[in-house]
Amino acid sequence: MGAKISIPVRRIDAKEKAGGWTKYIGDYQFKNLQHGRFLRSERARAKIIEIKKPDFPEGYYYIDASDIPSSGKNNIQMIKDDWRVFAVSDVKYIGETIAVILGPDKQKVLDLLNQIEVIYEDLVPAFTFDDALSCKGGAVYGDNNIFSEYLLNVGNVDNAFKDAVKIVEGKYETGFQEHLYMETQGLVGAWEDEKITIYASSQCPFYIRKSVAVTLGVPVGDIRVRQTTTGGAFGGKEHFPDVIATPLAVAVNKVKKPVAMIYDRIEDISFTSKRHPSKITIKTGLDKNNNIIAMDIDTLVNGGAYESSTTIVLQRAILHGIGVYNIPNARIRGRAVATNTFPSDAYRGFGAPQGLFAIEMHMSHVADELGLDSSDFRRKHFIKTNDITITNAKMHDEVKLPEMFAKIDEMSDYSSRVKKYTDDPVKGIGIAFVNHGGGFTGNGEQAIIKGVVKMKRLEGGKAGLYVSVVEMGQGLQTTMRKIAAKELGLDYEDIVYDNPDTDIVPDSGPTCASRSIMVVGFLVQECAKKLKAKWNEGVGVEAEDVYKHPDELIWEQETLQGDAYPSYGWGINVVEVEFDPVTYEVKTTGIWAVWDIGVAIDEIIMQGQSSGGVIQALGYASIEKCELKNGAFMQHTMADYTIPTSLDFPKVETCFIDNPYKYGPSGAKGAGELVFDAAPPAYAEAVQNAIGKRIYDIPVTPEMIMGALK
């Protein structure tokens, strides 16, 4: 790692956060604050026959769809607008919002909520992939429960399978995952200066502004959204705050007082979106030299009761469906299905971890079937620069996987350990190779987002940075300052970058899709260059930069053909484990990671991303089990939905390889999601090597291992 910008600085927000000075949404004082709670559906699929309410004392309100202004809509305008602000006449999942109960006393609000009785007439719900595909109880969505369907194809798969001398098949499943950000969901809606202001722990202030404006039927300029310092998000605060903000805004619009809607942990685990469960079937055809000549993949993701971002998640799952390999003839059918589960939504990786888990485990299983070393087999099939991708475009990235493998092999001693553990009854080591497309799929940055950033010369040799992407723990408050300061020749502390306020900053797009540094950071870099050129015009001079898609990248959105992403981050993880043959518990004894993220804007911040992403992913792979019972999540607390503690995993040994990207700031590419992608299959492969049985599903629990060994 040689770039000057990678030299770490102390995070700008470290001291204030560490000492507890920083205010999060629950720490603010609002005058005359009202407390809101949701009346939620207790049934997965039912008609609402009647809602019996107690008498409400003065100052206490019951707000529902009838309170939406006639100019507005009972729809949450997210990527799709099918999710209702309030359920009316029927409910489609457990936890669906029916009404807001609010008033000045928190306990009294809860008492009123408990006295409300909803009379339902139950319908037959659909929960599983099989339920969805057989339209159990009648279609939840459309006439076939398919939110979206795609078919990707490269080469001629059917002909190639005819030439195959061996065929290997496998079916891979992944479960729900709860984000478990340490700060729960929380928003306060206020009536200030004759307009609604939403204070939000969120990733995307402009998403909230748009959805609230559509619900109330007012121009977006009538709504102000101010991001409050966000205590973790991981995708969980990308669209989901809209589900809270829209009914909240309807309530504020009615009572004209500030209303807090801050979840406690049980509500947060029980009634927020999770990662999409997946079921992926892969069939591979091989020639006599053990080369893959054909691959046929069927991908299903469960979107739950409403579509929201599910189609885009499905796109990412299939666009990463053949992983980092050059497969000459490949076909992927992808379908996103509707069920009566809580709507699934964005979670770090956004479909890619599901697709990559399946392909990596499958490659391992094919190698096993052929009696070959799993890493050798995969490395033989690595995609190279200019090879053809699943979307019939050339891979533009300089692919440094061989160099990265050499590095991780040196760090972890993988090659010799994999041999050493072959006959070891309890030890195993696994490896996984991944890439992750940075930014919105295809030309989405141009077609959908059109990000804008602004800068301004301030008094005292400082510069103001105006962007809508937020700090949520990933370090943007520091890295964005570093990018701007480098061009202006200032100290990073001389860049002013406040939590975004939609009345002040331009819309640079949402904080998601590993786009903040690569896409918005590049705009910041270019904008800073423009400001520098005008600097001597004096205090107050401004500069702006607008996203422009690289001319050489082409994309056809309807058919998903062309350059699927502007660039990819690349990664390899090695995980070493030891299992206890008595309790079936697995202990992780080593973790190594090598990443190509272009250039790290800050080496320590990126180490934090690597350790944090890998450990969160190892939780997904091992202990984070989130199950459904009659459509309700069985896990409700941090005691029954457990995440890794400081004792569960050893240190992640991380290394970054420089590979500058020309449209990234100082060469940086996307990184925040990439660091999640490789650990689950590396862990699962390590466990299968330890126990001597193939693993097809995550999380790999002791119960699953016991089952495999019996």
Binding site: A18, F234, G608, G613, M638, A639, P644, V652
Partner: protein, 157 residues
């Protein structure tokens, strides 16, 4: 309702409240000590960690009545002391802080550890932090932060 007195960050305070009210709520709502965070409300995550008579506790699990007469220290009570500054600086230099919601609790756990063991090794640090959950960092850089605090603050604890 009952009047309950205890020492908060070195000063005697008196609170008129239900003795079963959570100490967490008393600290945040009555005393405006918002450095104490609520992460789970059931003693699992450590975001609300405070020192009670020098012992690290989760304030969501302590009824106010149980705090009567005891000495409570919140992040506000140590952040401007030499020890607090040492931990905060060490966390900053290590890159231990990400979203920051768990960090004041991590500072309290660090203070509690270094008070009884000022030269902890990595496994002792991991053990001492194991009651404080963090979803961002994977803990590695927090462990490093504690190591730096222990090295720099060898005369403080």
């Amino acid at each position: 309702m009952k009047e309950i007195k205890f020492i908060l960050n070195g000063k005697e305070v008196s609170v008129e409240a239900d003795p079963l009210k959570r100490l967490l709520d008393v600290l945040r709502e009555d005393e405006k000590m918002t450095g104490v965070k609520e992460g789970c409300g059931e003693g699992e995550c450590g975001a609300c960690a405070v020192l009670k008579d020098g012992v690290l506790v989760n304030s969501c699990m302590i009824p106010l009545g149980a705090a009567e007469g005891s000495e409570i220290v919140t992040p506000e009570g140590i952040r401007e002391t030499d020890k607090g500054k040492c931990i905060i600086d060490a966390f900053g230099d290590a890159g231990a802080v990400q979203c920051g919601f768990c960090t004041p609790g991590m500072m309290m756990a660090t203070e509690a550890l270094l008070t009884i063991n000022n030269k902890p090794n990595e496994s002792e640090i991991r053990e001492a932090l194991s009651g404080n959950l963090c979803r961002c960092t994977g803990y590695d850089l927090i462990v490093k932060g504690v190591q730096i605090a222990s090295e720099r603050g060898k005369d403080l604890w």
